[in-house]
Symmetry: C2
Subunit: 479 residues, 2 copies
């Protein structure tokens, strides 16, 4: 029997059973239901689907069906909260777009993580299993972090174990740094364009973000010195290696200039070394390794080269700043869960770590090459002014009069996600740009297809808007 | 051969090998060294110990020896930071004392976690292994948390999945709540005495903490209403169940009064439900379950009933407040690592969860009984005015003129850690108190021994200071 009435009867019976359980409790398995009710598996699956549709149960692939939380009948009117919460705003829009998961069939040329196929998922799992088998796995770690992991980060940054604080990933590290080093209302200098996540967390900390122009070699020293002088800022945030989104890497000489300028201004440099492992070309030493005065607060994250949920980063600082950052972490969130720290340590201590790094860096070179070649072929109007020597993306200049939001939206309708340039600017952008990520797609062939879809959107936009068309293709400049 | 010269030769050889490796790299195992050098295991262990003493390697029990980070020869002078950092202070002293690990042989009557022998370490390990074997274990979870875990927290709090945000433990939840609901400079009302971690995080958020007196039934409604009226506060922090440190549980009627008063003031109540699972006596429903207007922001942590490193909590809110808290989490730290969320979900979904809860709650009753009986027998001068119906500790009033810091210090010298009452007060304490925890000790017999040591310290103090002696034992009042 597998008709409507038997499905309805089974659904009623399961509903009664669910009513006797608590939200989150597990229903019997399909097999148990088949046996208990003498029905076919198809009947079971249709009856369960009906209960899911009614909101009575939720299902969890591979784990079964669970009693759903009851709908809340009571009417709540939280409009009074608007007064209590006051006029502050926490703007997560840019980050939400970065963390967005693409819909089925849509090609992501967005995002800041490796596609799952490039992640060391198996090796992380093995590392985690070793980690949680330790008898002290769930105990409190030393407050600044597991000592051997701190030593490892110290080795990577040419500092000492005592300088390292283990924090919950790079974003938390930036939050700690901004909140710890500056007070609400203080200015903070940033390169422009820059990482939107840094802009968002600086603003959430109540800081006033002041952009400083950059060239192909990173932030411009003359402008940096002037910005310090004009604003009295005590914090400068930058990414000296494979800057996001421009791809610029500061030379050793530029790094020394930046340090000297910050030092003269009595200011901290927050060095976000997110791309350290994302290249086959060894970059110059990080600023923190050149720093002899405690000027640099360094952020080294592991999630970029591994996977989003390995939320472990090293936050390196010296002197009173280190003491403050450590105190703030205890007060704000105690410490990073020991199993995550031990997993990270197991992973970077194993031979898999170097193999993985080399494999990813080589794959990035391949993918970047394909993306650039596809752009040259299908979108000759777009210009890549700086070919980065690594990293996850390229920064693409659009023709000056092009409507950037319209292109992003049309691209999405054409089945490809791209990041609008404006979210990388703290203030008015100098013109339309896109950031194109080549690591979020699941395989290389998707990159060319993504660019073709973007070209379709671009062509439509040019055809639809005669003004934009002529302005958008001014003699095919730059191609 | 196992003489000094063979140890020295091996140490030199290993030192040369370490110099060719990078900090954090693993040295060969003891067995490999034995084979390669033809020496005894004892020689290896002595040579390695020598290198540890010289700072060349660090060892990790069960994992081997690793190259240590080199000492940093460069002199850094970070004194300029003092100006850049400004006059703000993040005070972690109270939390550091709470998170302090006792020295060997010292009995801890302090701390806020279960002793390792009471933790479900094996079950958590099994849950974690199931969690990390999922193919998506290291991927980004939905930003507000794994849906099934949110549903579970919703079931526990009689709310809906959409109301729940998964955060990195209870302390992070309080930080989110205070920063999200109030702006720097705003007042926040707290019960007095109260949890020092809440005082610390509220102050780190720049809030002005205003204490409100409590009685045996929790915060006093008349005083709460007056404090709202006087300060214009929009946030009240409280623990309605088994309040820390007093042990008071608000009755259903008191809960309704608190809600009505907060609602009339247009204010949020941050409900810290840390002790929900730490009792054999079911408490009244949480405030959040009684709330129909989005007044309550509820914190439900899993680390108290499990282990410190299961850093997972549910933060429940509705309306614009929920939106702000969710946005703030994305901006500040993205999301909670998926493996931790899945581990928590696996654990609370398994039969082990209810067994563990029941076993812990029963053990707490036993331990509290032993602690109270030991106090009656060995320290009759001390008064427990409210015998809590659960929780991790008792709140003990000392004779009025007793020197509380001196007793805490003498107790530590006598081999027992106790928490001074003053850290639980936002302002001047009304008199000397202690908080005594009965769950940090590794077995029950330690509790009586801890109280005997405390009695020794108390007796010494009375003998040393004749003034304190007479004041400290006013006719054995209260006994």
């Amino acid at each position: 029997m597998n008709d409507d009435s038997s499905i309805a009867r089974l659904a009623d019976s399961l509903k009664a059973q669910a009513a006797s359980l608590r939200p989150g409790d597990r229903l019997p398995s399909s097999r148990e239901i088949v046996q208990a009710h003498g029905v076919s598996p198809v009947t079971v699956s249709k009856a369960v689907a009906r209960l899911v549709a009614e909101g009575v149960v939720t299902t969890r692939p591979g784990a079964g069906a669970f009693v759903a939380a009851p709908p809340r009948p009571r009417e709540t009117d939280p409009s009074w909260q608007t007064v209590a919460l006051g006029g502050r705003v926490v703007d997560e829009a840019a980050l939400t777009s970065i963390l967005q998961q693409p819909a089925e069939g849509v090609i992501p040329l967005t995002g800041g993580y490796l596609n799952p196929v490039l992640r060391p998922t198996k090796e992380l799992g093995a590392a985690a299993i070793r980690a949680v088998k330790r008898p002290d796995a769930w105990s409190m770690p030393p407050r600044a972090g597991v000592p051997e992991l701190r030593t490892w980060f110290a080795g990577e940054t040419e500092t000492t174990q005592n300088d390292v604080l283990i924090v919950s990933g790079g974003q938390a590290a930036l939050t700690h740094a901004f909140r710890g080093l500056a007070a609400p209302g203080d200015p903070v200098l940033v390169e422009t364009p820059t990482y939107p996540g840094a802009l968002a967390t600086a603003r959430a900390a109540g800081l006033r973000v002041v952009p400083v122009p950059a060239d192909d070699g990173g932030v411009r020293p003359d402008q940096l010195a002037e910005a310090f002088a004009r604003t009295g800022a005590r914090v400068f945030y930058c990414q000296p290696t494979l800057q996001n989104p421009s791809g610029a890497t500061q030379s050793l000489e530029r790094r020394r200039q930046v340090l000297d300028i910050a030092r003269a201004a009595g200011a901290f440099v927050v060095e976000d070394d997110f791309a350290r492992y994302l290249t086959t070309t060894p970059p110059p030493p990080p600023l923190v390794a050149l720093d002899t005065h405690g000027t640099v607060v360094h952020v080294l994250s592991l999630s970029k080269i591994t996977a989003p949920s390995l939320r472990v980063a090293g936050l390196v600082a010296r002197g009173p700043a280190a003491a403050r950052l450590r105190a703030a972490q205890i007060v704000e969130s105690f410490f990073v869960a020991r199993p995550l720290q031990e997993t990270a340590l197991e992973f970077v201590s194993a031979p898999a770590w170097r193999r993985h790094r080399a494999a990813v860096a080589a794959e990035l070179d391949e993918r970047r090459g394909i993306l650039l070649e596809s752009l040259r072929r299908h979108l000759p109007d777009l210009r890549v002014e700086l070919v980065p020597k690594g990293g996850l993306h390229v920064w693409v200049r659009l023709p000056p009069a092009l409507d950037e939001p319209a292109l992003v939206e049309r691209a999405q309708r054409a089945g490809v996600l791209v990041s609008p340039g404006r979210i990388y600017h703290a203030t008015e952008p100098p013109g339309p740009w896109l950031r194109l990520t080549h690591t979020a797609a699941s395989h290389r062939a998707e990159l060319a297809e993504g660019v073709i879809r973007l070209a379709t959107a671009y062509g439509e936009l040019a055809a639809d808007a005669p003004g934009a068309s002529s302005a958008g293709r001014p003699g095919r400049r730059g191609s």
